[in-house]
Symmetry: C2
Subunit: 169 residues, 2 copies
């Protein structure tokens, strides 16, 4: 218990705005991780620095745009697609939160991973979705792209790859 003594959960509403409605799609998988610096411990954190092309870096960050996409207003579909994306990439889901702006409108959501995160923001009226997929450790974020293509059937996909935290050695 001492190990988790400083960790606690806090949930509260910000104000009592009468416009507030329900937010859906919140899943938590709370993973305790042993303490100690990453070099010395075998903890469950999966965002250790890695070597890519001879360079030490934190991980790969994909900036993904979908155009001409479908089903961008379907909350369950977006949630299951994010979860499948996490699974095929070999990542570990810690928490997912989706916000549905209207029953037929846009969705903003994030999945927090042991290896970083996936975010999605959709504009169904334009068939457009902006995602970013940041994964560290051994996870393979590019494997999420075919999942997104199958789920949303975009007519166009743009994917830029960034290396994060590059140190050069």
């Amino acid at each position: 218990m001492a190990k988790t003594a400083s960790l606690f959960q806090l949930g509260m509403d910000l104000g009592s705005d009468p416009r507030k409605a329900q937010t859906e799609g919140q899943i938590s998988n709370r993973t305790n991780v042993t303490s100690g610096p990453w070099r010395e411990s075998q903890d469950d954190r999966k965002d250790h620095f890695i070597v890519r092309d001879g360079k030490v870096c934190a991980g790969t960050h994909l900036i993904v745009d979908l155009w001409g996409a479908e089903r961008l207003d379907e909350l369950d579909h977006v949630r299951s697609t994010l979860i499948e994306s996490v699974e095929v990439a070999g990542a570990t889901l810690l928490h997912i939160h989706l916000h549905h702006f209207t029953p037929n409108g846009g969705i903003s959501g994030v999945a927090v991973l042991a290896e970083s995160h996936i975010s999605i923001h959709t504009w169904p009226e334009r068939g457009y979705a902006a995602l970013d997929i940041f994964m560290c450790g051994d996870a393979q974020p590019m494997k999420a792209i075919p999942v997104l293509e199958r789920a949303f059937k975009p007519t166009g996909v743009k994917c830029d790859e960034l290396l994060r935290g590059e140190t050069g050695s």
Copy 2:
């Protein structure tokens, strides 16, 4: 009530992993938004497409790296810094979730905004933090940078700006 009938809240744990511990820093501000396509409604969604440099786009996405930074393992400090960043940028916080990998270890967190999101992932042992700040509408994400500098005192900051969802007209 009809307006919110299709919205509901769902929260659950993923499995019963004995390693699971507490996750902290979860705040929700659930905003209901009137239905209808964005062109026709005056809803509260704040991620409408905007015109930047003559181009229609979804918004600005900052990719921010902090090096030589301090206090990257302090959960309350990270949370209050994210919240201040949202405020100074003129954005609206909907939900925040932070995961603390160890009492003295890294933090992964996201703030879901009416205008998109901010994410942060920290490696205290390297003094490194990877953030991304995606804001649509009238929010001004660059205003968050001085907040981050004051909070974490990095010796180096790298900030790349991406336009998301650019349509050219």
